[in-house]
Symmetry: C2
Subunit: 128 residues, 2 copies
DNA sequence: TGATACATATGCTTCCGACATATGGACGAG
DNA sequence: CTCGTCCATATGTCGGAAGCATATGTATCA
C-alpha cells in the first residue's frame, strides 16, 4: 500500500486535514511550501484529488459562493485520516533516510578534503 | 537536471563516495539502509550505475580477484562529486519539506483529537 | 553435478509527474 | 458589449523512474 513512490498525495492529505478545502487554495499552499521542484502542476493536483475521492480517502461537495466560481470543497474521511497516519510513518522513515544521506555525504566530503590535503603541498597554515 | 524525482541515484552516489565500490556491495548496503520500500531492485541499481557512467558521473574498471566473480569497481569523477553536492542541497530541501509535513500532520491530528473531545461526552479523567 | 553465494545484466510493464491546453463563470475596464 | 483577467476545475499526452521477472557466468563446497 504505502509502497509505491508518491510525493503529492501526502501533502495534499495533510493540507486538507489542516483545513485547506479546495483545489485552487491547495495549489497556492503547495506552491508556497515549495512542494514540487519547479512549478506545481495543477493538473496533477486535481487528478490526485479526484483519485483520492474515488478511493474514499476524501469526500467533496460543491460550493457556490455568491460571486466567484463554484468550487469543490474537500474533507478527509476516517479512512483518509488513517491513511494520513500511515503517511506519517512513511515520512518519518524518509526523514531518517535523508538524514542518513546527509551524514554520509558530509563524511565523504570531509574525507575527500582531507585526502586532497595530503596530496596537495603543505597547507597554508602549516600542519603539525 | 536535479529536477525529476529520483531516489536511488543520490544514495548510489553517496555510497560510492563513501567507498563502496561495486554493484553487489552497493545492493547490500542499500538494502541494509532500507532505501527502497519493500525490496531493492538490483536490476534498477545496475542500470542506474551504467547510466551514471554513461553521463560521466562515475568511472568503472573491471576487477578480477583470484577466486570470485569478476566485478566492476566504481569511483566518482569530479563531475560526480559536484553532482553529489547538488544532491545534498536537494536532500536538505526534502528534509525541510518532510519536516513541514510532520509538523502539519501533528497539528492536524491534535486539532482533530481536541475536536472529538468536544463532541464526545466528558473525558475519562475529567477536564478542568 | 547440483546447490548456493557472488556478481552483473536485460526485458517488460506500470504509473507518477511534467508539460500543454481547454472550459467557464464573475467582474472591471475600455 | 466584448476583452482581458482572476478564480477554479479539468483532460490529454508523454517520458522515464521504479517495480517485477528472468538470464548469465564463475567459484566453492557437499
Amino acid at each position: 500500500m504505502g509502497r509505491r513512490r508518491r510525493w503529492l498525495e501526502p501533502f495534499v492529505l495533510v493540507l486538507i486535514a489542516d483545513g485547506t478545502c479546495h483545489g485552487y487554495a491547495l495549489a497556492a499552499r503547495l506552491a508556497d511550501l515549495g512542494v514540487a521542484p519547479g512549478a506545481l502542476d495543477v493538473g496533477e493536483l486535481y487528478r490526485t484529488l479526484r483519485e483520492l475521492e474515488l478511493v474514499g480517502l476524501v469526500g467533496s461537495s460543491w460550493v457556490v459562493p455568491q460571486g466567484g466560481a463554484r468550487r469543490r470543497d474537500y474533507a478527509l474521511t476516517d479512512v483518509g485520516w488513517a491513511r494520513l497516519a500511515e503517511w506519517e510513518a512513511v515520512m518519518r522513515e524518509r526523514a531518517r533516510l535523508v538524514g542518513e544521506f546527509l551524514g554520509a555525504a558530509g563524511r565523504a566530503s570531509a574525507a575527500r578534503a582531507a585526502a586532497s590535503e595530503t596530496v596537495t603541498d603543505a597547507p597554508a597554515d602549516g600542519g603539525t
